[in-house]
Every structure is written in structure tokens, then in C-alpha cells.
């Protein structure tokens, strides 16, 4: 948010907060145990707003569900901001003391009246008004989001639009008030923490900062490239332009997980050299020149960092099968093969080296992680108890450090526009019992499994002349696939949904668009224009 990337709050705070906003998050299915904490909050009297095009199982718990059009989040957020300002419900003291850029922001949202918001989002103005008033008036409030906000071509702007609201109302930096991006994978947070970002070193230290880089170089005994690398969408571009010809993929299945999979296959097959290190022979690995069998979860030691910035130990319970080896062992072996005298470190040794270099993690020894059941960063030294919530400094008077900036952001609809030819908005997402491309979750037998289907509103089913179970052709501007239809009453006419879990059967990313956010590199998985045609039965 303001520097280090991570949720500001701890789960326990949502149990005691007064208002919960779930924005583009179906946590009931995607983060079930986080949702337990949400439900404790609800049972303790918290009111809940859910903003989601679909009336998801999360939305069914809401006091108010706002069923916006896909990709209209900024219009909604700006209208909420304008309403708060026009009703003089903003937190003036906080704005004056801890933020900057308010006047520009106020001017920027001025055009977003409730009426305009209704026009753009499709949600009645009174519901938008209610959201604005309740969020502003709540003593404490938690604003949570997930991929419904970030899988857009303007993901960063979406996030900034929400952060503006937290700054406007002072709902950040206090116990019970904060903003929480929920992490989709076990260690997305930890990957970022460790510098698996094109522009960061471990602990969110800027790679282009000479001083920071020098510190790492001294300990690593090697030179660190002084320029930020490419995020995934830039890599795609470089592959398209022939600048990137060799790729080493560890634990990813991009052939199936990236938008526009036809394009992706072309890119991967055009490479000169592809190495894939994974626990299974995934479809991506099948394209590789070299496959390195990795030990998986349950077979290795290390740490994960959760969505509340809590670093916890992961441990080996069983031996890896066959020739599979720990990632750390494989990487060291590759280094040795390249002529570097690396000794394979233990997970703890690698961790301890990182602790010297990342102030956020400095105090997190394995012994402490063990004893305390994990620690939340920042935890700079071994006497530090970890940090329950971030940005408390914004409530110090005068504040320490820099002021938190407002950002003016504008409504920017999905790239893949709806037309007569492609009249239905397809959005994608996850279901409770499955996970991403199904590499892991496909291997247990779930009585709740919904296979690759196209979810439609019953009304659309009628107008298309299809019944549940009928196969249809789904076509976007990039590709076409066939899938059976399932009726879902949580969808309104004109809105369709597909999960991403069964690429082998129904490869939804044949349809999706790789329009991507210039700052984060995320593609617009959430907004595809499609048409649906019944298959003539054979």
C-alpha cells in the first residue's frame, strides 16, 4: 500500500470491527477460514457490504449486496468518495494531518455523482449512498478485496481507488480499521516478501536503490543487476519481440494459467530453451526442453507468509518421491553446474542469511517462529513481538514518515467491450473445492466438484433456448470452446461465469484477453466479451 505490500490488519481485527466491505472477493469460497473471522465479526454485530457482479455465497451474508457491472469499480469507489465529501462525512483531522493530495482527489471525484455511478455500475444510487454513509460513519471498518479488483487491465488504479476511501475516512492504521488484499496462494505474500518481484529485493527493498543493492552484494558476494526486471506481461512482450528466448519456470503452469492460452502456447514453443521445475509433469512442463522434478509441499522445509503478514514454518512430513529434490537443492546444483562453488544450504540457513538483509524479517528466527506460532512483519529484531497492524504511524501527531497520498483515478471500462456480436460479459473465478488450474486439487475426490461449465442466468438460458447440461459454443474475440451450461441464480441476464480449474477439459483462457495492467502486469481475467451458441445435438 504505502511502500511494503501487504494487508494492513490482522484477521482477529475483523472479528471486532463495525463494518466489513468485501470488494471483488468471494472469500466464503476462496478464503474459507478467513471468512470464519468475518462471520465472527458479523455475529458480533458488524454490518457487511459485498461488491461483486455475482451474488456469491459471500454476498449472501451481506446486509447490502451491490451487483456492479464488471470493471466499474472505480466509478463506484469515486462516487462513494464524492458522496462522503458532499455530506461532509470525511475524517478531516486525519486528512489534514496524515495525507496529501486531498484537494485534487476531491476535484477528481466531483463528476462521479450517485446518478452517474448508477449509470456506470448498474447499482441503484440509494445503495451506493448507503455504502458511503455507513463506511464513513462506522467507528471501525475493514475493506477487503481479492482478484475481482486486481485481475483487470487497470488493477493498480482499482486498488488506489479503494485506498483513497480508506484515507478519506481514516479507516487505516487503527485496530479494527484497515485494508486487506487477500492472497490467493499459500505464499504469494511470502514470494513478494522475498523479492520475487521484478523491482524488489527481499523485504521490499528497491533494486534500483544503490545503497540497498550494495548491502546485498556485500553479503551475497556477487553483483546484483541495477535495473528492475520484467513482470510477467513484459516478459510476454519480450518473448513476442524475440528479446527473451530462454525461460526457467519454477512451480508455475502458465500455459493454462495465463490469459489467451493460444498466444501463450505460441510463445512457449517459440522459445529457444525452456526449463520447467515442478512437482508434476504439467502441460507447461510437457513443452520444456528440461524438466527438473521438484519436491513438493509436505516434502520440504521453509516458511510461508499469510495474508496477515504472518510468517509461519512449513515442514517436511514425507520424503519426496523418486528423483525429486528440494527447490533449494536443485538451484544450488544448477549453480554448481554453472561453475559456482555453492553448498546447498538448509532452509534455515538460507532464511538466516535473508534475515540479515531484510529489516522486516530481522527478528524472525526459526526458534521464535516455532515458539510463537509465527510472527507478523515488520519484526526487525529478536525482541520485537511482530506487528498486529500497519501504518499506526499515520495516527501519531505529528505523523512520522511521509504522508499517505491520495491518487486521482478515472473510470476505465474493460478493454474487451460488449457488442452485438459479443453481448455477454464473462467473468472468471474460483470455486470452494478447487484451486487454480487444478494441479493439486484435481487429485482428490470432492463431492462438491462442479466441472468445467459455463454458468448462465436461467433467463439467458431461456433466451438462448438451452437447458442445464446442454453443450454450447462459447466464443470470444480470441478463441472458442465448448462447455456444458449450468444455471446459476446468482447471475443476472447478460453475465456469465466460468471457473479456471479445468483447463484440460474447458480451457477458459482460450477466451480471456491479455490486456494487462502496466504497473502490476496482471491480465484482465475478469472481463471477457463472449457470445454463446447452442450446439446442434448429434
Amino acid at each position: 500500500m504505502f511502500g511494503a505490500g501487504g494487508g494492513t490488519s490482522s484477521y482477529r481485527e475483523i472479528e471486532e470491527t463495525d463494518l466489513i466491505i468485501m470488494w471483488g472477493s468471494n472469500a466464503r469460497e476462496a478464503h474459507p477460514i478467513f471468512f470464519h473471522h468475518v462471520l465472527k465479526g458479523v455475529r458480533n454485530g458488524a454490518r457487511m457490504f459485498v461488491i461483486d457482479p455475482r451474488r456469491t455465497s459471500t454476498a449472501r451474508w451481506a446486509d447490502v449486496w451491490l451487483g456492479i457491472d464488471v470493471g466499474s469499480d472505480i466509478a463506484l469507489a469515486n462516487a462513494v468518495g464524492r458522496e462522503i465529501i458532499h455530506q461532509d462525512l470525511q475524517n478531516r483531522e486525519f486528512i489534514d494531518e496524515a495525507t496529501e493530495g486531498f484537494d485534487n482527489y476531491a476535484a477528481g471525484v466531483e463528476e462521479y455523482t450517485l446518478e452517474r455511478a448508477e449509470e456506470i455500475t448498474g447499482v441503484p444510487a440509494e445503495a451506493v449512498e448507503r455504502l458511503a454513509h455507513e463506511y464513513a460513519k462506522a467507528e471501525t471498518a475493514q475493506l477487503c478485496w481479492t482478484l475481482g479488483i486486481t485481475e483487470h487491465h487497470n488493477a493498480t488504479d482499482n486498488v488506489l481507488a479503494l485506498i483513497n476511501l480508506a484515507l478519506l475516512t481514516g479507516h487505516v492504521g487503527r485496530y479494527g480499521s484497515g485494508v486487506i488484499p487477500l492472497r490467493g496462494q499459500n505464499n504469494v505474500q511470502g514470494g513478494g516478501d522475498m523479492g520475487a518481484l521484478p523491482n524488489k529485493l527481499p523485504g521490499f527493498q528497491d533494486v534500483e536503490d544503490d545503497e540497498k543493492r550494495a548491502k546485498f552484494e556485500a553479503v551475497w558476494g556477487a553483483e546484483v543487476p541495477p535495473k528492475a526486471g520484467k513482470h510477467i506481461s513484459l516478459m510476454h512482450e519480450a518473448m513476442d519481440e524475440g528479446d527473451l528466448t530462454a525461460l526457467y519456470i519454477i512451480g508455475e503452469n502458465p500455459l493454462q494459467s495465463e490469459a489467451d492460452s493460444t498466444e501463450m502456447r505460441r510463445r512457449l514453443t517459440n522459445l529457444d530453451f525452456l526449463v520447467v521445475q515442478d512437482i508434476f509433469l504439467t502441460p507447461t512442463a510437457e513443452l520444456a526442453d528440461v524438466v527438473l522434478p521438484a519436491a513438493g509441499w509436505g516434502e520440504t522445509e521453509g516458511t510461508f507468509t499469510s495474508s496477515e503478514r504472518r510468517v509461519q514454518r512449513v515442514r517436511r512430513a514425507v520424503d519426496p518421491p523418486g528423483e525429486a529434490q528440494d527447490d533449494i537443492a536443485i538451484l544450488s546444483a544448477v549453480a554448481r553446474a554453472m561453475g559456482h562453488p555453492w553448498v546447498t544450504p538448509t532452509a534455515e540457513e538460507a532464511w538466516d542469511e535473508m534475515r540479515q538483509l531484510s529489516p522486516l524479517h530481522g527478528g524472525m528466527t526459526y526458534a521464535r517462529l516455532e515458539e510463537l506460532g509465527g510472527l507478523q512483519w515488520p519484526c526487525p529484531d529478536v525482541d520485537h513481538p511482530g506487528t498486529l497492524f500497519l501504518h499506526g504511524r499515520l495516527w501519531e501527531r505529528p505523523i512520522s514518515g511521509r504522508r499517505a497520498p491520495f491518487h486521482v483515478v478515472e473510470d476505465d471500462p474493460p478493454v474487451d467491450t460488449l457488442t452485438e456480436e459479443f453481448p455477454i460479459r464473462l467473468t472468471t473465478g474460483r470455486r470452494l473445492d478447487s484451486f487454480n488450474t487444478g494441479v493439486q486439487s484435481g487429485r482428490y475426490s470432492s463431492p462438491r466438484r462442479i466441472p468445467g461449465v459455463l454458468d448462465l442466468s436461467p433467463e439467458d438460458g431461456v433466451s438462448l433456448g438451452v437447458s442445464e447440461g446442454d453443450r454450447v459454443t462459447v466464443t470470444s474475440r480470441r478463441g472458442s470452446l465448448q462447455a456444458p451450461v449450468r444455471f446459476d441464480r446468482s447471475l443476472r441476464p447478460g453475465l456469465a461465469f466460468m471457473s479456471v480449474h479445468f483447463p484440460d477439459d474447458v480451457d477458459v483462457n482460450v477466451l480471456t484477453i491479455d490486456a494487462w495492467d502496466p504497473k502490476s502486469g496482471t491480465a484482465e481475467f475478469k472481463a471477457t466479451a463472449i457470445r454463446v451458441e447452442p450446439l446442434v445435438s448429434v
Binding site: 454490518r47 457487511m48 451474488r55 449472501r60 451474508w61 451481506a62 446486509d63 449486496w65 441503484p124 441464480r489
Partner: protein
Amino acid sequence: MDLRALLDRPTEAERMAVDDLLGPSEPFDGRVAYGGHEARGQRQMLLPALHAVQDAVGSVSRGALGYISDRLTVPPAEAYGVATFYSLFNTDQPGRTTIHVCDDIVCSQYGAEDLIQALEGSELSWERSPCLGQCERAPAVMFHHPGQGYGNAAPVDSDAVGNAVFDELPPSVVHQDQSQLRLLRRIGRVDPASLQAYRESGGYEALTSAIELGPDGVISALDESGLKGRGGAAFPIGIKWRGVADAPGRDKYVIANGDESEPGTFKDRLLMEGDPFAVVEAMTIFGYATGSTKGYIYVRGEYPTAEKRLGEAIVMATDAGLLGTDVAGAGFEFDLEVRRGAGAYICGEETALFASIEGYRGEPRQKPPFPTQHGVFGKPTGINNIETLLATLEVIAGGAGEFARVGTEQSTGPKLFCVSGAVEKPGVFEVPFGTTLGEILALAGGVRGGLGLSAVLLGGAAGVFVDSGSLDMPLTFEDTQAAGATLGSGAVIVFDENCDFGPVLRRIARFFRDESCGQCVPCRIGTVRQSETLARLGDGETLGTVADELERLDDLARVMTDASICGLGQTAASAIQSAIRLRLRGAPA
């Protein structure tokens, strides 16, 4: 909530029955939905909604239950758990005319088994029922014609039952002279369907006095009167009302406990059927004195006439400005609602009754916290039974001193007793506290057929047997307690010298087995083991010696009394143990 709907759809009749109660359902908007706390707050309409479909079609089908769950945001599994808790909801067969035959302690002495024999070969749908509260005219049945409603018939014969054709039930009569009556003075004499007749017979004088006294004055008068609750626990009413009045918070409730289900007890039915405005007036004063703006009258499901009369009385009182936002022009708000039980003795227990109003299974809660702090919907709640409420009218209208002059020092005022069984003139009798058991039996014409007395069951199934040695016992809270007996519900069930108590005790054991809510182990399993043990003794197939069986019964009695959550389990062995102690004929020995 993210409920998963049952696949079945309701029939048109089921949907209409529910929509008539709840209003039409709103279609999915697609853009906005309001739910959450407000939607979940509709849970308390669950029993009324289940009644609506049961009344209309005679059963609660999958489709109906699914529709109700959806409308009220109640999980289907919980709705099913509630529907199967209450014996009057039929979840396992298509609805049709059903006859509930009372085979309980009193009716079984009046030929209940003959009625059952007449039904056993027939095509009719019928069930055995615990006491229907019609004991003065046993044997009794309750019948239900789907779409037409419930009715009671008593006394009935095999022909009527076998053909399912019943006469209209005449109003209950009071055998005593009008001059002896306060609580019963309007029964059978004043038109219960007329507010005017009620007012002309002194109705609403108590409310006028109450408003003059003010809330605190009302409670002080109750303190002075020495009035104690008539429901069994004999708790001082002034203290209870003050507890609610003084409890912090704005939302408070008052409840009239009309779930009179103790076998052999029917006085509250007479009052609710015969003097419904008095119940409404007393509740209004209860609300006024405690600062509660909402009251419920919980009427047992087997009392359709009482429910109807009370409902009509509430409408008339509301129309007359005696309920509503400005009661009697005195500037206070009070509304009343009738809630129907659905066949569960346990709901007479106050915390189970709260659960039932809230739309849950009638499972009692551990006390403390007590209702005056944490009652229905978790709010401070005052709850009294019907007879107690009518007694408060006497205190307010007639004066606390006048009231306290009746009865004894510790048991003040008039008291109702329900005399049934082997007497000449069964019925409800109003006497001053302190009247002896013998005097009450004499009022009822003595033992039927000039036979001798073997025993009296005081307080119903949860009570204790006494024999002729207790005829001189004054019926007061203090005297019965000293004698190890109880007044309980005011039931006085009389058995003549020819009675074989074996079947009586087995029926009592079955009553508790059937009526246990199933929550706590001592009661859930203990009542079964008690019933099994008595069955073995009755069949002469004892496990070990009779002494072993008696030891088992004693162990079961102790654990149920000591360790059950509520009064049901705690008294489930009381009558049986007293019969053993008195060595009644046919009791295990």
C-alpha cells in the same frame, strides 16, 4: 446466509399459505439485495410459517420446508430440526384428517383405549397424544381437518372417533357458586367474544388503576399482596416484575405462558377460552409496569379455541385503542401477539418457550442467566402463567391488602385447582389458599361411584402421589413443601381404591420419555431406562431381582433429579418414586 435450497418446489397451496403469512416474495433483483442481519431476524416467524402450511395442507413437505427456509433465511436442516421437534408438525406423510387421541393418565381411566381400538382397524390417520387438557370431560381427542382447522372433542365415544365426526365442544362450566369466585367469575357467564361485555363486568378497571398507580406503584402493590407465581415455582411476582423493570436496555418483553401441558391441568384453558380480555388486560399492565412494549401470549397448540379467542380479543383491544402506540390514551406503547405451540410439553419451561418463540427447537437453557436479564431474543423478559396474570388483576383492581387477606400468610390470594379422574364432578375449582385436599375433593363431589380413595396425584406427571393420609393437608406452598409434595400446576388427579398403578406409572414414564427434549444425557437416556425398567417389572421379566430393578430406578431418579438441565428431567422420576414410597398397588415393590 449462503443457504443451499432443497430441490423440491412448494405446491401452489403451500406457497400461498406461506405468502399469506409473510407477504409475497420479491424476485431476484440482479443489482442489489438487502439481507444480512435483517434477513436473519425473520427466524422468529419459523413456527408461524410451519403452522401455516401444516394448517393448510396437513403436513410440512420438502417443498414447503424449502420455501419457508428460503423466505426466512433459515437453514433447511435447522428448519427440519425444528419441524421434527414439535409433535404437531407432520413431516413424514401426506396431510389428511388426523385424530390425536389422549391416552394420558386421566383419559386412560375413561376409556381412551376403546377409542384407540376403534381407530386401529380404520383407514383414518391417528396418533396417541399426551394430555389434551380436557380432563373434566374425558375421554378427549383433538382432530385436524387440513384447510379447516383444529378442534377438540370431549367426551367422545368410539362411534364419533371411528367416523371422524365430532360435535361442537360446549364451553366449560364452573360448578361453584358465583359468590365464591374471583378468577373464574366470568367463565361461562360473560361473552368471551365481546369487549363491551368484558368492560361491563369490571374489565379494564385494573388497567385504569394501574395507570393511576404508575409502574412503580403497580409493582409495589404486587410486593404488598404477597402474590407468588402459580406456575409451580412460587416465585414472588413483585420481585420478578421489578427485575424486568430495572434491567438495563430498551428492548424488553413480557410473555404470558399459556403452554399449559402438565397432565391433568386445564385451568388456564378455561381462563383463556372464557375470559380472554382479562389475559390481554393483565399483559397490558405487565408491559406497562415493566417498560416492555411487546408481549407474547404463548398458547399450547392443543388449545385452538383459546388461541382463536385471544387473537380476536387482541384485535378488538387494538381497535379500541387498548393496545398499540398509545394505550388507553395514557401515552405508553404496547403490542401483543399470540404464538401457538406445536405439541411440546417442554415449552412450558420458560427458557424452552423463549427458544420456541425465537423459532428454535424448544430446548431449555441453563440458568443463570435468568429471564429478567436474558430472556427471549436475549433481552430482559418477564414471564408469568395465565392464572398468575389474572391474579395480578385482582391485586391491582381490588387492592393488595384485600388480596393478601385471602389465603395464608405465605400463600396469599385465591388458587385454582383442576380436579379430575375418579371424582363425581371433575372441573376447575377456585378456593382460598389453605383449603385442604379433602375439602377440594368434597367440592368435586368426592370419589366417583362412592368408592374409596387410593391416592391423589398432585401437580400432574411432574408431581407426587399422596394418599388418604394427606386429606387434611392444607394446600399451600409451605404445607405441601413441608410434606415433600408439591402444588405444581394445580392438578389434582384422583384414583379410586380399585386402581392398579402399574399402568399409570408406565404411562407417566412414557410421558417423560416422549416429552424429553433430548438435550441432556440424564433425561434423554434416563427417561428411556426408567420406562424400560418399569416395563420389565410390569412384564415380570426383571434384570436380576426386583431389588436390583428398584436400585436402578433409584439411581436413575437421582441422576435425573440431580443433573438434568431443567425441571422436566428433574421431576421425571418424582411421581414414580412417590408411588413406590407409598407402596401403591401395582407400584414396584
